[in-house]
Subunit: 194 residues, 2 copies
DNA sequence: CGCCTATCTTGTCGGTGACAAGTTGTTGGT
DNA sequence: ACCAACAACTTGTCACCGACAAGATAGGCG
């Protein structure tokens, strides 16, 4: 059992995150219960509480992991010529959100004020945002992050992908388009903007 | 007491909606509890259950009322010349969302599958959507609602306002802009699109 | 008067998050 | 080798929640 680290009753923290991810994907964040996770993993009802700052801490960790994946996806989308960065990154963004709708909703719904993996969450979140900025402007502007001010360019780009994705995830477009049609429309929007 | 209708212990349904609206505005939908509402109104803990199909039913009613207000706001924004419909309606949309952020989030987060005031919710929701269509195209296309298909025009318009608003409401832009700056940016986006 | 129905109350169930206190296993110092 | 300190986990409990069942109460109508 060298592979499973310290072992007292297994590597609980990792197991909790994996189990919670499964519940998240199939039933949404509201369905995640500390006691239920404990039950699924065969530990006592209070065990999960020792690995996160309460339920909110667990959700923060899930959100942070999501931002990490999103950032990696966006960064990977920029290995082509800069002229295609915006379109490719937008496509990657939407593809990520549609592949993990519940995770995406959690990432943008949960308050960042969580505290558990606060710095990790903030870091991965801003990493994703920097990728977005780079894609929109074909490179990173050389300014002090401290006095960064939101501009119309990135707001429009982010709003259109975030808005489309949220409308789809929340079922507002369900009766008006299939997923394939929705993706085609998003591609159309992205090439118009770019 | 003629004004308060039937009276057994007051017009509970209306009182519940008003109290729940207050809690919603100041603490969000998650803070709405049937038992807490009952406590606030001085009735027994089970009383609210007789007026809505459970907690979800109450939330649906709140969402439906929100869509009613939104639809009215959007319709009112189109009393000017058709050329200004899109910009004015967009502005009205964003203004509504920023004035009632928790309500707005509830409207687009809660599943429409609620059952309680399902037909009312669906009706007010599509009323708001029709206003949006009218604003985008300067009038309503003459098609059968049954075979309506989502098109790029309305998707882009809706996405950009919904996305911007959700990003703001969920605090993603907090550190990058003040509310006034955000509103100015939204106006800029709206006039570019229109 | 007596029934009927809508409204509200009381009681209870299983479930949940948070916390306190105790137990067990692991690790590291001597 | 031993023991202390620490981390991981268990047990127990609290207040809260939503949902339901069954009973009480009031108003309307015959």
């Amino acid at each position: 059992m060298l592979t499973t680290d310290t072992y007292h009753h297994g590597n609980l923290r990792r197991a909790l995150l994996e189990e919670a991810s499964a519940v998240l994907e199939e039933a949404g964040a509201d369905a995640i219960s500390m006691r239920d996770l404990a039950r699924r993993l065969g530990v006592s009802h209070a065990a999960p509480g020792h690995h996160f700052e309460g339920r909110q801490g667990l959700l923060s960790a899930l959100a942070a992991a999501g931002f990490e994946n999103l950032a990696a996806s966006l960064e990977a989308a920029m290995d082509g010529p800069p002229g295609e960065w915006q379109t490719n990154t937008g496509r990657a963004y939407v593809r990520f959100a549609l592949a993990h709708p519940q995770r995406y909703r959690l990432m943008f719904t949960t308050g960042i004020t969580s505290g558990d993996c606060e710095e990790h969450l903030a870091h991965q979140s801003s990493r994703a945002y920097l990728a977005l900025l780079k894609a929109v402007y074909g490179g990173l502007p050389d300014i002090d992050p401290a006095d960064y001010r939101l501009a119309a360019g990135e707001l429009r780009a982010w709003s259109v992908v975030h808005g489309a994705v949220m409308l789809w995830i929340d079922g507002q477009l369900e009766t008006a388009a299939t997923e394939a049609q929705f993706l085609a429309l998003v591609d159309e929007m992205l090439s118009e903007i770019g």
